[in-house]
C-alpha cells in the first residue's frame, strides 16, 4: 500500500481558492464516501481548515499515479473549478514525503504561525470524520495515530509553542517574566477595547485573580465585566485603583497621555514599590514614555510588543529546526512499520501456500499407505507441518531482513515464489 497526499495550503493558494475548496463536516463525509471506492483510493481522509485543504489517501502501490489523478479530479469537481485549474496550486506527496508532510502539519511546523496549537485538534477532527464515514482503514489508522504521537513529542521536547506570538498573549508572557506566577495578580484595563478584553481573558486563564475595568462608557465596561466577574469604575476614579493593579493594559483611544509619570510615581509609593507592568496598546500612546524610567515599573508600547513577538518567532524557528529532526526520525520509524504491516500478511499467505502443497501431496499418496490409526494420521500431519515450518522459517526470515533493509523500492513486496 502507498500513502498519497494532495492539497493546497496558505503558501500555495490564495484564500479565494482555499475557500472554494473548503469542506464543512457534512461535505467532508459525503465527499469521502464518493472518493473512496475501495479500488483506486482504498482509504481517505480530508483535512480542511482555513489555511489548508488536504486529502490523504491510501492506494495500491501500482496505482499511485492514477490515485493522485482521481483525487485531483475530485477536488476540481467538489470545488466547481475547471479541470486543470488547480495544477499550479496543488502539491502532491507520496509515501515518505506524504508521511513527512502530515507529521509536519500536525506538529504545526507547516502553519502560518509556527507552533500554533489549533492544527492538531483540526487533524483530530478530520480523523474523527473519516472514521465516522468509514473511510479510514488499516493504513491511515496507523498513520494518524503515529501522527498524534509525533505531534505530542514535538510539543513536549521542543519549545516550539512556549513563547507568545500574539499581542493579546504578550501580556501573559510579560506578566510571567515579572511576577513569575500570575496567581493572585490583579489586572486593570484602561479602556475596554477588543484587544484589551482578549488580553484580560488570557491573563484570567493564566490565574489572574482580580480584574478592574475603567472605561469612558460604563455600559461597555459592565458588559465585559460580567464575563470576568470584574469591577467597573469610571476613568476619573482610575487613580485610586491603579495602586492595586499589577498588570495595567491601556487602550483608551484618548488623544494624549492618560497615565503620566507623576501619577505612576505616586501610586508606586502606595504599592510599596512592588513592580508594575504597563502595557500600552493604544495609538497614539496613552502612557507617558517617561514612566519607563521609574524603577520597578515596566512599560511596553505596541512597538515593544511587536519586537518581542519578532524575537519569539525567531526563538520558535530555532526550536522548529529541532522539531524537524524529530519528524525526520519518526518518518523513518513509520516507514519501517508500514513495510512490516504489508509484509506480515504476505508472509502468512506464503506459509499457507506451502502447507497446502504439503497437504495436497499427502492426499495423493494417502491411498498407498493403507489403513492407519488416528494417532498415526496425526503423526504424519505433524511431520509434514513441522518440516514445512523448519524449511521455510530461515528462508522467510532472510526475506524479511532483505525487505526491511531494501531502500529503493520500499513498497514493492517480494514475490511469493509459490504463487502460480
Amino acid at each position: 500500500m502507498s500513502i498519497l497526499l494532495v492539497g493546497v495550503n496558505h503558501k500555495t493558494a490564495p484564500v479565494e481558492i482555499r475557500e472554494q475548496l473548503a469542506f464543512n463536516d457534512e461535505a467532508c463525509a459525503t465527499g469521502l464516501r464518493q472518493l473512496v471506492d475501495g479500488d483506486v483510493v482504498r482509504e481517505g481522509l480530508i483535512v480542511s481548515t482555513c489555511n489548508r485543504v488536504e486529502i490523504l489517501g491510501a492506494t495500491a502501490s501500482d496505482k499511485l499515479e492514477f490515485g493522485a489523478g482521481r483525487i485531483q479530479q475530485f477536488l476540481d469537481t467538489s470545488g466547481h473549478l475547471p479541470p486543470g485549474f488547480l495544477e499550479a496550486h496543488l502539491y502532491r506527496h507520496t509515501d515518505e514525503e506524504a508521511v513527512r508532510h502530515l507529521f509536519r502539519v500536525a506538529s504545526s511546523l507547516d502553519s502560518m504561525v509556527v507552533g500554533e496549537p489549533q492544527i492538531l485538534g483540526q487533524v483530530r477532527h478530520a480523523y474523527a470524520l473519516g472514521v465516522e464515514a468509514g473511510t479510514v482503514g488499516r493504513v491511515l489508522n496507523r498513520l494518524v495515530h503515529h501522527t498524534f504521537k509525533v505531534a505530542k513529542r514535538v510539543r513536549n521536547e521542543t519549545g516550539i509553542a512556549s513563547s507568545a506570538v500574539s499581542i493579546s498573549y504578550m501580556a501573559v508572557e510579560l506578566g510571567k517574566k515579572i511576577f513569575g506566577d500570575l496567581k493572585g495578580c490583579s489586572v486593570m484595563l484602561l479602556g475596554a477595547g477588543e484587544m484589551a478584553e482578549l488580553s484580560a481573558r488570557h491573563l484570567v486563564n493564566a490565574g489572574a485573580a482580580r480584574v478592574v475595568i475603567a472605561n469612558r462608557t460604563e455600559a461597555t465596561a459592565r458588559q465585559i465585566a460580567q464575563e470576568f466577574g470584574a469591577t467597573t469604575v469610571s476613568l476619573d476614579q482610575m487613580d485610586q485603583y491603579l495602586g492595586d493593579a499589577d498588570v495595567v493594559i491601556c487602550s483608551t483611544g484618548a488623544p494624549d497621555f492618560v497615565v503620566t509619570a507623576e501619577l505612576v510615581r505616586k501610586t508606586l509609593e502606595r504599592r510599596r514599590n512592588r513592580p508594575t507592568c504597563f502595557i500600552d496598546i493604544s495609538v497614539p500612546r496613552n502612557i507617558e514614555p517617561a514612566v519607563s524610567k521609574i524603577p520597578n515599573v515596566f512599560l511596553f508600547d505596541i512597538d515593544d510588543l511587536e519586537s518581542v513577538i519578532t524575537s519569539n518567532i525567531r526563538e520558535r524557528e530555532r526550536e522548529a529546526e529541532r522539531a524537524e529532526l524529530i519528524v525526520q526520525s519518526e518518518v523513518m520509524q513509520f516507514q519501517q512499520k508500514l513495510r512490516l504491516m504489508d509484509f506480515g500478511p504476505s508472509i502468512g499467505a506464503m506459509q499457507q501456500n506451502m502447507q497446502d502443497i504439503a497437504r495436497e501431496e499427502l492426499a495423493r499418496q494417502r491411498k498407498r499407505l493403507g489403513p492407519l490409526t488416528q494417532e498415526q494420521e496425526a503423526a504424519i500431519e505433524v511431520l509434514l507441518m513441522s518440516t514445512v515450518k523448519k524449511i521455510s522459517h530461515p528462508l522467510l526470515n532472510q526475506m524479511r531482513r532483505f525487505y526491511e533493509t531494501s531502500e529503493p523500492e520500499p513498497m514493492e513486496l517480494p514475490k511469493d515464489p509459490f504463487e502460480e
Binding site: E157, G159, S162, S163, L174, K176, K177, I178, F179, G180, D181, R272, N273, R274, P275, S292, P295, N296, F298, F300, D304, S307, V308, S311, N312, E315
Partner: protein
Amino acid sequence: MRSLLLAAVAAYLIAAIHSILAFVNKRRSLQRVAEWSTAAGFILHTSALVADWVIDGHYPLFSLREALSFLAWALVALYCVVLYKYRTQAVGAFTMPLISVLTLVALLIGTSPNAPATFSATWLFPIHTTLLIFAYAAFAIAFMASVMYLLQERELKLKTFGAIFHRLPPLTTVNELATSAAALGLLLLTLGIVSGVMWSSTRFGRYWRNDPKEIFALLTWLLYFVLIVYRLSASWRGRSAAWLGVVGFALVLLTFFGARLLGGYHVFG
C-alpha cells in the same frame, strides 16, 4: 579521602555541563541528568568529608583546602534547597561550575597541615567556622540571584528580549531568592561572629583583635544588615537592592580571600 573527592568532582563536572546545556537548550531531560549527578556528587562529597573527619581526627574545616571543599559542599546543600523551593533551574548553570572549580582546587591543593590541638579541642571553634562557611555560601547564592535580577531587569527595561530573556527566571522569583538568601546569610554571619567572639574570649580572654578578617567581616555584616533592613521596609527593592547584593559579595570575597593576603591572626594553613 582523595578518591571520594575525585568522584565528587567528576559528578559535579557532569552536573555543571548538563546544567549549562539545559540552560542554553532549555531541555528538561538535560536538567534531570544535572540534578541526579548533583545529588550523586553531594553524597560522594559528604562521604569524603566524613571520611576525612574520621581519618584525620579533626573537624574537616581548618586549612584552605578544607575550607574550599567545605564551601563547595555548603553551596551544593543550599543549591538543592533553592531548587526545591524556587524551582529556578537557571541557578544551576551558575552555581554548578563554581562548585566544580572550588572542589577541583581543593582536590589539587592536596595535603594540608593538621590543626593544632588549640582549635580542635573545643566545640565552639568548628561551630564558628561552619556557620561562617554557610553564611558565605548563602551570600554567593544571593549574589547570583542579584546578578540574574540585574540581567533580567535590563532585558525588560531595554526591551531587547534576547536569549537571556527567555532563559532567566522571573524577576519576582530572583528578587525573593536574593532577599531570603541574604537574610539567611546575615543570620548565619551574626551567629558566626558571636560564636567566634565567645570562643576567643573563653580561650584567650580577648573579644576582638582588629584583625583584617574581623574588620572585613564586620563591614560585610553592616552592609547586609542595611540591605535587609531596607528590603524589609520595602521602600527599597529591585535594581538598587540587587546592586547592593553584588557589592556585598565583593566584600565577602575580600573577607574570605583578601584577608589572607593582608595577614593577621585568621590565616591558617
